[in-house]
C-alpha cells in the first residue's frame, strides 16, 4: 500500500497531494533557511497564526458577494492580507515600544488567532457556513483537493522558490552581519521585509495541505535538520529544500496509504523523524559524534596525566586513569607501570620540558600558542627543531622521540 502511494499509484487525489506536498516542502525548507539563519524563526509563528482572521473574513466576503466561500484562491488572498497586518503589528510594537520581538510575537499571535476562532464560530452558525469546513485550514485537509487547488499550490511554491534564489545572496549577507550589509549599501529593512513576505507566501500556499498551525514546522525543522549536515549556508538551504520535499512527498504517501491518517501532521512527523536521525547521527554536529569526541578527548587527557604522574613516581589515584593506562598496556591494574609505560612516561615528561623550552624561546612564539598539554610535539616541530630544543635540556638521551 505504501509502495503504491510512493509510486503515485493510489489514485488521482493522492497523486495531486503528494506532488503538491513535495513542492510545498521544498519551498518551505529553502525559505525557512533564511529565517533560521536570521534567527527570526518565531516570526513564522506570528505570521501563520495571523492568517486565521483573514480566512474567516474572506469567506464572509465571498459568500456575501454570492460566490463560493470555499474558493481557495480567495481564502489565500484573505489570509495573506491579515498575515501582513499581523506582521506590521509585530514590527510596530517592536519599533515603537521597548517591548522585545518575542513579546510582540506572543501578543499578536494570540490576539489574531483568537479573533480568527471567533470569526470561524460565527461562520459555523451562518446558514451558508455549516459545511464550510474552514477549520480544515487549521491543520490542513487534503481530502477534497481539486486540480485547481494543486495548481495554485504548485505555482505559488515555484514563484516563492524563484524569489528566494534571487534574493539568497543578499539575505545571507544580512543574516550573517546586518551592520556590514548596511555598510555595503544593502537596504536591510527591505531585505528583511522581503524575507517575511516570502515566509508569508509559503504559509498561505501551505494552508490547504498542512494548515496554518503546522506550517511553522515545515519552515523551521528542515533548515535545523540540514544544519547538522553542513557548514555552508547555501548547502543548508539546498539540503533543507531536499528534506522538506522528501518529508512532503513521503508524508503525503504514508497518509494516503491508510484511511484516517491526516496528511499535514504526518508530513510534519516525517520531517521530525529526519530531524531525530540527524540530531543523533550527523557526523560532526550530531549528539553521538559529540559524545564520542568527548570520550576520545577525555581518554587522551587521562592517559597524558597518568603518564606524567608515572614519570615522576607520583601515585595515580583516579580509577579511570588506571583503567585507561592498563587498557593501553602502559600500567598494571595496581598502577605499576609496564616497560612500555615507563618509556612513554619518560617521553611525555621530556616533551613537557621541550614545551617549556619552546615557551621561553621567542623564535617559537607561533608554535608556543598551540600548546594545550596534549599535542605531540612532533606534529608541530621538525626533528631538527626538536634536536635544537633538546640542546637546551640536559635530560635522558637516546630514548626514541
Amino acid at each position: 500500500m505504501l509502495f503504491d502511494a510512493l509510486t503515485l499509484q493510489l489514485g488521482y487525489n493522492a497523486t495531486l497531494v503528494a506532488l503538491g506536498s513535495a513542492l510545498l516542502g521544498i519551498s518551505a525548507g529553502v525559505t525557512g533557511t533564511f529565517l533560521f539563519l536570521r534567527k527570526r524563526a518565531l516570526v513564522a509563528d506570528a505570521i501563520s497564526h495571523a492568517t486565521l482572521p483573514g480566512v474567516g473574513l474572506a469567506f464572509i466576503v465571498m459568500v456575501s458577494l454570492g460566490g463560493d466561500g470555499r474558493n481557495l484562491a480567495g481564502l489565500m488572498l484573505g489570509s495573506a492580507v491579515s498575515a501582513w497586518a499581523g506582521l506590521l503589528a509585530v514590527q510596530a510594537i517592536t519599533r515603537r515600544t521597548r517591548l522585545a520581538e518575542d513579546a510582540a510575537i506572543g501578543a499578536v499571535l494570540s490576539v489574531f488567532f483568537g479573533a480568527g476562532v471567533v470569526l470561524l464560530t460565527v461562520i459555523q452558525n451562518m446558514s451558508s457556513g455549516r459545511q464550510a469546513g474552514l477549520d480544515g485550514l487549521l491543520l490542513g485537509s487534503t481530502a477534497g483537493m481539486l486540480f485547481q487547488d494543486a495548481m495554485i499550490i504548485a505555482g505559488g511554491g515555484a514563484i516563492t522558490l524563484a524569489l528566494v534564489l534571487l534574493l539568497r545572496r543578499a539575505m545571507t549577507v544580512v543574516a550573517f552581519d546586518a551592520e556590514y550589509a548596511r555598510s555595503i549599501g544593502i537596504n536591510t529593512d527591505r531585505i528583511d521585509m522581503l524575507t517575511m513576505l516570502l515566509v508569508m507566501a509559503v504559509t498561505v500556499v501551505g494552508l490547504k495541505i498542512v494548515g496554518l498551525i503546522l506550517i511553522v514546522a515545515l519552515l523551521i525543522i528542515p533548515p535545523v535538520t540540514a544544519r547538522f549536515w553542513t557548514e555552508r549556508s547555501e548547502l543548508v538551504a539546498a539540503y533543507a529544500g531536499a528534506i522538506g520535499g522528501v518529508s512532503g512527498y513521503v508524508g503525503a504517501a504514508i497518509s494516503a496509504s491508510a484511511p484516517s491518517l491526516p496528511t499535514g501532521p504526518i508530513i510534519v512527523l516525517t520531517c521530525f523523524a529526519l530531524f531525530i536521525v540527524s540530531l543523533f547521527f550527523a557526523p560532526e554536529r550530531g549528539v553521538l559524534a559529540a559524545y564520542l569526541r568527548h570520550r576520545r578527548f577525555q581518554r587522551r587527557v587521562h592517559i597524558r596525566q597518568g603518564l606524567l604522574a608515572l614519570a615522576q613516581d607520583l601515585p595515580v589515584y583516579e580509577p579511570l586513569t588506571i583503567r585507561l593506562l592498563a587498557s593501553e598496556g602502559l600500567a598494571r591494574r595496581d598502577g605499576v607501570p609496564t616497560e612500555a609505560g615507563r618509556a612513554r612516561a619518560a617521553k611525555a615528561l621530556r616533551d613537557e620540558h621541550r614545551w617549556h623550552v619552546v615557551h621561553s624561546l621567542p623564535d617559537y612564539e607561533a608554535v608556543s600558542s598551540l600548546y594545550d598539554g596534549l599535542r605531540d610535539i612532533e606534529t608541530v616541530l621538525t626533528a631538527d627543531q626538536i634536536a635544537e630544543i633538546d640542546t637546551h635540556i640536559g635530560g635522558p638521551k637516546g630514548v626514541p622521540a
Partner: protein, 269 residues
C-alpha cells in the same frame, strides 16, 4: 561686494574645498539611543591618505561615530560626505571592518565565503561567483596571512584569525577609505602585527585608514592623525601636535591618571 562679504565668501570657499578634498567629512553629527546623545554635534574632517585613530574613554561614542558615518545607524542630525559627495553615492569607495564580537561565529560559512561577501557590490544579487572572484578572495586572505585557512569553518578560528578574515573581506572591496572598529581588540601579537602591516601598506598606496583604537601606547607607532572624542569632539589633527597630555586629559578627564599620561610617547603639543 564689501570687503567683509568677500572675506566671508573666501572663507566659505576654503571650507568647501577642504570638505571636498576630505575622504570623510562629518558635520554636526548627533546620534542618540533613547534620549541621551551618544555622539553630540560632532564635526570631523579626515585627512586624505592619513591613518587616523579615533580615541576616547569607554562610552565616548567612538564606535557610534564610526557606524553613523557609514550610515549603519541612523543619526538624529548631521551630514556625512565622502570626497564631497553624499554617502550613498560613494558606498563603493568605503570598506567597513566591524567588531568581531558582534557576530555569531557558528554561522554556516567558510572563511572564503565571508571574504566573498566583500565582493557583493561587484557581484550584485545573482551573478555567479567565478574562479577570478575566488582568486581575488584568496589573494586578500594571503595579504592578511590567512591563505591556508580559506576552506576552514569560521567557527574554528581564533579571535585574531576572525579579525584578519574581516580585514580580508574589507580588502576585497578594494575601497579607498577603510573604517575599522577596534581592529586590535583582544587579538594576539602576531595578528596585531599582520593587521598593522596591511593598514600601513594601504596608507602607502594613498588610501585612508580610520580606526577606533583603545591602546594609547601604540598611537604614535601606528597612526599619524588622532581624533579625540568624548560624546563631543575634543580635538583632531596630526599626532605630533594633537596627541598631547592636555587633549588626553580633556577627553579622558580624571580617568586617565597623570602617571599614565607621562608614560606615553606624546606629541610635542
Amino acid at each position: 561686494m564689501t570687503h567683509l562679504e568677500l572675506a566671508a565668501d573666501h572663507g566659505h570657499r576654503v571650507a568647501k574645498e577642504r570638505l571636498d578634498a576630505s575622504p570623510l567629512a562629518i558635520r554636526g553629527l548627533t546620534v542618540s539611543y533613547g534620549e541621551k546623545p551618544a555622539v553630540f554635534s560632532v564635526d570631523a574632517t579626515i585627512e586624505d591618505g592619513s591613518m587616523t585613530a579615533i580615541i576616547g574613554p569607554n562610552g565616548a561614542g567612538k564606535s557610534t561615530l564610526l557606524k553613523a558615518a557609514l550610515g549603519v545607524i541612523k543619526p538624529l542630525s548631521g551630514t556625512v560626505t565622502v570626497h564631497g559627495k553624499p554617502l550613498e553615492s560613494a558606498r563603493g569607495r568605503i570598506a567597513y571592518v566591524p567588531q568581531r564580537a558582534s557576530i555569531d561565529w557558528d554561522f554556516p560559512a567558510r572563511v572564503i565565503d565571508v571574504v566573498l561577501m566583500g565582493l557583493y557590490r561587484e557581484l550584485g544579487m545573482i551573478a555567479r561567483v567565478t574562479g577570478a572572484h575566488r582568486r581575488k578572495a584568496l589573494d586578500c586572505l594571503e595579504r592578511v596571512g590567512m591563505g591556508d585557512f580559506a576552506h576552514r569553518q569560521i567557527g574554528q578560528l581564533s579571535g585574531g584569525q576572525q579579525q584578519r578574515v574581516f580585514l580580508a573581506r574589507a580588502l576585497a572591496q578594494d575601497a579607498d577609505l577603510y573604517l575599522l572598529d577596534e581592529p586590535f581588540a583582544g587579538v594576539d601579537a602576531a595578528t596585531e602585527k599582520a593587521i598593522i602591516d596591511v593598514l600601513k601598506a594601504l596608507k602607502a598606496q594613498g588610501r585612508t585608514v580610520v580606526a577606533v583604537h583603545h591602546d594609547l601606547a601604540t598611537i604614535t607607532d601606528y597612526f599619524d592623525h588622532v581624533f579625540l572624542i568624548n560624546v563631543r569632539k575634543v580635538a583632531e589633527g596630526p599626532v605630533a601636535t594633537t596627541f598631547t597630555a592636555e587633549t588626553l586629559q580633556k577627553a579622558y578627564g580624571g580617568r586617565l591618571a597623570t602617571a599614565q599620561i607621562e608614560d606615553l610617547e606624546l606629541g610635542a603639543g
